[in-house]
């Protein structure tokens, strides 16, 4: 090779000794090529780059030796550490479970009264319950448990299925109208759509339910008889509710689906069958009990007020 532009040629001694132009700023020779005015310097390969490459390569080789790395047809190198990412993850996950065990495990017992009176235990457990509630329940029941159309308020004094922790836990475990085999079942019949009651009767009942909700004494009203015949079985005499079959009280101002005449009419015509998912399987038994106590406490303030 005697090409004048051969970069492999020895760098000529002195700045101006070579036959290739030298860059005055850096003192380095160019390669002698010219691409429409662009030239390049034949600056020697910086040492630091070689060292960096060696370093990065050593890091990689160590990683390849220790970790699963290279495929071999039907198998791959497992690495000296023998790591498996899901085993790792499960190990860490179980570690976290163990870290929680001392305060979470007691909740498996479902001795709610004893648990609730253990203040230090509750203080440790409630933040976890709040997070579980926010990630799983708040979508329907809202961040503070106040519910919304179709989703019950958990902080008022009304319960569809009972407000004891035992009952709440059972609701959480099996759900309502859910896919769980033991699900709680509830249904507000579609009196209009299914032709159980004529439209005129429904109008009378709408008025009657509205009257009940205002706390008026509507025992003699035109709808009263219809109500006693068709509705009281589920909603109780005078719509007091509380039968533990999911039918709400109608003699208060709180509504699940809304208290305007139109909304009540829709309820009576088309029926309702709210679905609360079952949490068994998704949440552990302890977590379910924990949440039951959390929910019970959520509305304590309101409920005490209501009782007074």
């Amino acid at each position: 090779m005697t090409d004048a532009t051969d970069p492999g040629r020895r760098h000529s001694a002195g700045h101006h000794g070579g036959d290739r132009p030298v860059d005055p700023v850096t003192g380095h020779e160019t390669t002698g090529h010219d691409w429409g005015g662009i030239t390049e310097l034949n600056t020697a390969f910086p040492r630091i780059v070689i060292w960096a490459l060696v370093l990065a390569f050593s890091y990689s080789v160590i990683a390849w030796i220790l970790l699963p790395a290279w495929p071999l047809g039907h198998d791959y190198t497992r690495g000296l550490l023998g790591l498996d990412q899901s085993e790792e993850a499960v190990r860490e996950y179980r570690e976290m479970e163990r870290a929680r065990a001392d305060w979470l495990a007691p909740f498996a017992s479902a001795e709610f009264a004893a648990l609730a009176s253990d203040a230090p235990l509750m203080a440790r457990a409630m933040p976890a319950a709040a997070r579980l509630f926010a990630d799983n329940c708040a979508a329907c029941h809202q961040a503070k448990g106040t519910g919304g159309p179709g989703f019950p308020n958990l902080v008022d004094a009304d319960w569809l299925w009972g407000g004891d922790p035992e009952e709440i836990a059972e609701t959480l475990r099996v759900g309502v109208n859910s896919t769980h085999p033991d699900t709680r079942v509830s249904q507000m019949l579609a009196f209009g759509r299914d032709g159980i009651l004529p439209a005129g009767d429904i109008e009378l009942l709408v008025d009657h339910v509205l009257a009940l909700s205002r706390g008026e004494d509507a025992a003699d009203g035109p709808g009263a008889e219809l109500f006693a015949e068709n509705c009281a079985a589920c909603h109780g005499e005078g719509g007091v509710g509380g039968l533990g079959i999911g039918a709400p009280a109608l003699n208060d101002g709180d509504w699940l689906y809304g208290g305007s005449p139109g909304q009540i009419r829709t309820t009576l015509r088309q029926g309702r069958q709210g679905v609360m998912p079952s949490w068994e399987g998704r949440l552990s038994p302890s977590e379910i009990n924990l949440l039951a106590l959390y929910v019970e406490r959520l509305g304590k303030g309101n409920r005490n007020e209501a009782r007074e």
Binding site: V25, R124, D135
Partner: protein, 543 residues
């Protein structure tokens, strides 16, 4: 455009335009409804417009003799115009989707305005529309100047640019209509994918034929990069987009890959779309415009060799760093991680080579906003590749993956590196192609520079904070071993960062709009003067 074509070239062009019209009509007729029919109609309309344009000019006077002694710059000018148009579309949509994340109620009730449909319009608009047109336009320029040869023919540059932009239009209008393959950065449906293959082959052939005419026996580094960009993108595009259409008369197709293999192929593609589209091509741009603007020789030829082959070889291994801790086997993740770390060396070697090239020209960097764009681009290139290699380390990725940190990293690369080098190239090219000394409004370049730097910094810093906050909130456990935050709390914590990002993006966009107007003003007032030395050494193609 027609003025630069000879009569026989116009005839060939006319034939191609007729063929495009027919293709569009066939597509529309076969599909009858849905996205493919609309796309057929778009192709037919474009074909028809070209038929009229070329047909109308068919018997205009023959091009003046001697054009072979000139470079063919008309396609470059056209490509630059398309670049700035797509910049405004793509970044405009970017700012809009950024705003939607802060203010979701602003979404109008029409399907095509929904975040999920607009997001790929943004990514495709900026990467392919803005980035792709810039790459194609500058590659024509760089290729001719460094080879000192005129483009090998006069039809295919137009075919490449028009065909490529038809692909971009098909892609983004498809997403608006809900037609997508869901593969990130490859969302366009099967017929658009096929079309792009045809365009790309044309591009490659043109590139090679022109390169073959070069006056200097050695191929300049910039061309190595452009070549890697063309070749590897073709390879990635074809493999990732292999799909079986439900019907030849409809848009819908299913990728042949499934599950974990699909994920690996997707991110082998996705990462190397970054590597060979957003990096290799733009390094080609940097390797040309930086020495030209600074008037300095490339600092080290030897370093260029190592960084080029390092980038080409290492990059292709690292796609699996997008799948850390997923159901992708651990061994692939280890390879992705280690190669990403090794990749840092050639990446920084390139950035270092660029910055060292400025030795002896720092006064120019201070005074010339155009050169400053390139300098900042090189710095951001170094920054984002460092960040990338860092994010590729598994434990780091366990925090950053799925968060806005990734988006912050993306935009330090795309705003800081890709967009800045494009602006630097445009500000160098536009005056030169218009026979002017400077841009029409030189002071606007300075304004643009500061808008761009401020916007990019606000964007990137906001999203670093956002992403790290998010990642920490998701994984933090309290003293009792329970997760501390709900997911929704992390969503709410993002609001201020999303607002800042929108503001940063708006600043960046206003700079881009300024650039578009300035470019228009510059190219409008072209003098037509050509610098005497700026001509091919090699005669042009046979007419």
């Amino acid at each position: 455009m027609t003025g630069t074509l000879s009569i026989s070239e116009r005839q060939v062009g006319l034939a191609l335009a007729v063929a495009l019209t027919l293709l569009g009509l066939v597509m529309a007729a076969a599909a009858r409804q849905g996205p493919m029919a609309v796309h057929g109609a778009i192709a037919a309309a474009l074909g028809l417009a070209l038929v009229f344009r070329l047909g109308g000019a068919l018997y205009d006077p023959e091009v003046p003799a001697g054009r072979r002694q000139r470079f063919y710059d008309a396609p470059t000018r056209f490509g630059i115009a398309l670049t700035v148009i797509w910049a405004i579309i793509g970044m405009g949509v970017g700012v809009w989707v950024a705003a939607l994340l802060y203010w979701p109620e602003a979404t109008p009730p029409w399907p095509w305005t929904s975040f999920g449909r607009l997001r790929p319009v943004h990514t495709t608009g900026v990467i392919f529309g803005f980035g792709g047109n810039a790459l194609i336009a500058t590659s024509f320029h760089v290729l001719q100047r460094t080879a000192r040869a005129r483009l090998a023919d006069s039809i295919s540059p137009w075919a490449v640019l028009i065909g490529f932009n038809l692909f971009c239009i098909w892609a983004v209008t498809g997403y608006l209509m809900g037609s997508t393959q869901s593969k990130e950065y490859a969302e366009a449906e099967w017929y658009a994918d096929l079309w792009l293959v045809v365009v790309w082959v044309t591009y490659f052939v043109l590139y090679m034929r022109t390169l073959a005419r070069r006056a200097e026996p050695h191929i300049y580094v910039a061309n190595w990069y452009y070549l890697a960009f063309i070749l590897v993108v073709a390879m990635l595009h074809i493999v990732n987009n292999l799909a079986l259409p439900v019907s030849l008369a409809g848009a819908r197709s299913f990728p042949i890959w499934a599950g974990v293999q699909d994920a690996m192929v997707q991110w082998w593609y996705g990462h190397n779309a970054v590597a060979f589209f957003l990096t290799a091509g733009f390094l080609g741009m940097l390797y040309y415009f930086l020495p030209v603007r600074s008037g300095r020789p490339i600092w080290s030829y030897r370093l260029s060799i190592v960084s080029f082959w390092g980038i080409v070889f290492f990059y292709i291994w690292v796609g699996s760093h997008h799948l850390h801790y997923t159901a992708l086997p651990y061994w692939v993740q280890t390879l992705g991680m280690t190669f990403s770390v090794m990749l840092l060396i050639p990446s920084w070697a390139s950035a270092g080579n660029a910055i060292a090239t400025l030795n002896g020209a720092w006064h120019k960097v201070r005074d010339d906003a155009t050169l400053r764009f390139m300098f900042v681009a090189a710095v951001f290139y170094g920054l984002s590749t460092f960040e990338g290699s860092f994010l590729a380390i598994r434990p780091v990725n366990s925090l950053s993956h799925y968060t806005d940190w990734t988006v912050g990293h993306v935009h330090s690369g795309t705003l800081g590196w890709v967009a800045m080098i494009i602006f630097g190239a445009i500000y160098t090219l536009a005056p030169q192609l218009s026979g002017r000394e400077t841009m029409a409004w030189p002071r606007a370049v300075e304004w643009h520079f500061w808008l761009a730097v401020t916007g990019a910094l606000i964007y990137v810093v906001a999203l670093w904070n956002a992403g790290i906050t998010q990642g920490l909130m998701w994984r933090s456990y309290d003293d009792n071993g329970a997760l501390s935050y709900s997911f929704l709390q992390s969503v709410m914590a993002m609001a201020p960062y999303y607002l800042m990002r929108t503001i940063g993006g708006a600043l960046f966009l206003s700079g881009a709009i300024l650039c578009a107007l300035n470019t228009r003003a510059t190219m409008r007032r072209a003098t037509g003067a050509v610098r005497a030395w700026d001509r091919p050494l090699v005669p042009g193609p046979a007419e």
